[in-house]
């Protein structure tokens, strides 16, 4: 007879909620970048309006974890699972915010702006989305072998971000009248870069969960 079955079930449910929120953030980023490229203002507006859903999901995860800490007095890996869920959900909520920010940039640009969106932004998005998949898999299986891959992919996103900002800087020199539009696309690449940074934080949280010690994947 396994003991504390109900607590284990609650932990599993919390894990599912975290994974669901991670899938949400992936969808928000993908959809917001598609809306940016397509100048789809309607979708961008919907993304902004739906952001509260992810805030509420994060709050629910935090509340559940708090009640479990108070009621179940978890120790060792169970305690780390709850701390990790709180930290990861905070990162995920911020990631959804970055998707919302991209949608705001889309609205600012409007459907008749004079610039083409830098193609590297799409590449950055694809890498960031693949990082979500890797992080979710690692979290689900409590597997730390992926951590280094996350760090490497984050480095790649950082490199692409550098390339985009360099290109856009040159563009502003030749098109000073378009600077406000160019800046919006620069911001967008910055939001994706931050999105990926949060995924390395999540990788660190999973390392903490599994190993019980803190790591810095950016070192």
């Amino acid at each position: 007879m396994q003991t504390r079955r109900f607590f284990n079930e609650e932990l599993q449910q919390l894990k599912l909620e975290v994974e669901e929120l991670a899938e949400d953030t992936k969808k928000v980023l993908t959809t917001s970048v598609e809306a940016l490229y397509n100048s789809d203002l309607k979708t961008a507006q919907r993304i902004i309006e739906e952001d509260h859903i992810y805030n509420e999901k994060e709050q629910h995860i935090n509340d559940s974890a708090l009640v479990m800490i108070a009621k179940q007095q978890p120790v060792a890996s169970d305690l780390r699972r709850l701390i990790a869920a709180i930290k990861i959900s905070s990162d995920l909520e911020r990631m959804a915010d970055h998707g919302k920010n991209i949608a705001k940039a889309t609205l600012f640009l409007g459907d008749d702006h004079p610039i083409s969106i830098h193609s590297t932004i799409k590449e950055m998005t694809e890498i960031a989305v693949s990082m979500v998949d890797i992080a979710v898999k690692g979290y689900h299986n409590e597997d730390i072998s992926f951590a280094r891959v996350l760090a490497e992919k984050d480095d790649k996103v950082d490199e692409l971000y550098g390339r985009v900002t360099k290109d856009l800087l040159e563009l502003t020199a030749n098109n000073p009248d378009q600077i406000q539009y160019i800046m919006q696309t620069a911001y967008t690449s910055r939001y994706i870069e931050r999105f990926a940074d949060h995924l390395t934080n999540i990788g660190e949280s999973i390392l903490y969960l599994v190993k019980g010690v803190s790591y810095d994947l950016n070192e």
């Binding site: 003991t3 504390r4 109900f6 009640v67 108070a70 007095q73």
Partner: protein, 279 residues
């Protein structure tokens, strides 16, 4: 549901039930099976429980916590009239169960205790074979013999004990471990098909593994039974209960949802007690 009333009048009209208010909580709705109303319990001149009003919700676990002597066991024992065994014990107030005040003198307490079963701190199996521990009470209550085996099996299964002892039902109950004995006592209470189970510190004499098994069992049983538990172990109350009542010196200091009470208690005295700062 309750067949314990002989001559007692129904003390509560339906309208009164709907209008009831709770003294110690702002929680708007409880699906109560038992309602304690202005309950006071005395041992001679000493008032052990002071004017307590609270619900015990159906199919939920309600925990009573508080320091020694706060009145929690007295309160629990009042719910199935165990205090009647103490000549100097007497009550004021009411405990409403299915529209009947079970503190009424005309109540058939044997029938009441069949519906509101109790398990005590120390496992107290009869010094008889395991099977007879279950059947003894059934025979005493005049229940049919034809389905005895079925009742024994079901009761032991509900108490999560069947798999461990199904091949030794003829062995003495005293040969079981402490944790198994306590689960047998729970099975014995369940055999009478009660609506309510009262547990008076059911794990205080058990080791941590056995305690965890009983805790899991309690959470399983609440699907079918209403459970009230007294525990010295605050952490246990937090883990397994849905509602918690904190008593001190016979007063109900706070009653509410366990998650709320353990994360954001309304009363400073509750916070002090659950955080171990009580002086």
């Amino acid at each position: 549901m309750l067949k314990v009333k002989k001559h007692a009048e129904n003390n509560y009209g339906e309208s009164q039930t709907k209008e009831r208010t709770l003294d110690k909580t702002n929680e708007p709705e409880f699906n109560s099976l038992l309602d304690l109303r202005n309950l006071s319990v005395y041992y001679g001149d000493h008032q052990a429980v002071k004017n307590v009003s609270m619900p015990i919700e159906k199919n939920k676990v309600t925990a009573f916590i508080g320091p020694s002597g706060c009145g929690k066991s007295t309160l629990l024992r009042t719910i199935n009239r165990m205090n009647d065994q103490i000549p100097i014990a007497h009550y004021d107030g009411e405990i409403n169960y299915d529209g009947v005040n079970i503190l009424n003198k005309d109540i058939d307490v044997v029938a009441l205790r069949k519906e509101i079963g109790m398990v005590f701190q120390e496992p107290n199996p009869f010094p008889k074979p395991i099977r007879k521990n279950i059947t003894h009470a059934l025979k005493f209550m005049g229940m049919a013999k034809s389905n005895m085996n079925e009742i024994v099996e079901n009761s032991l299964k509900q108490a999560a004990l069947w798999d461990e002892i199904k091949d030794r039902l003829g062995d003495s109950a005293l040969s079981l471990s402490g944790g198994q004995q306590q689960r047998l006592c729970i099975a014995r209470a369940l055999a009478l098909q009660p609506n309510v189970l009262l547990l008076d510190e059911p794990t205080s004499a058990l080791d941590p593994i056995s305690s965890a098994k009983v805790e899991d069992l309690v959470m399983e049983l609440k699907q079918h039974y209403t459970i009230a538990i007294v525990t010295h172990n605050m952490e246990q109350a937090a883990r397994i209960s849905d509602n918690t009542a904190f008593l001190y010196n016979g007063d109900l200091i706070e009653f509410g949802n366990t998650s709320d009470l353990f994360t954001n208690p309304k009363e400073q005295r509750t916070e002090d007690y659950i955080s171990g700062k009580f002086s």
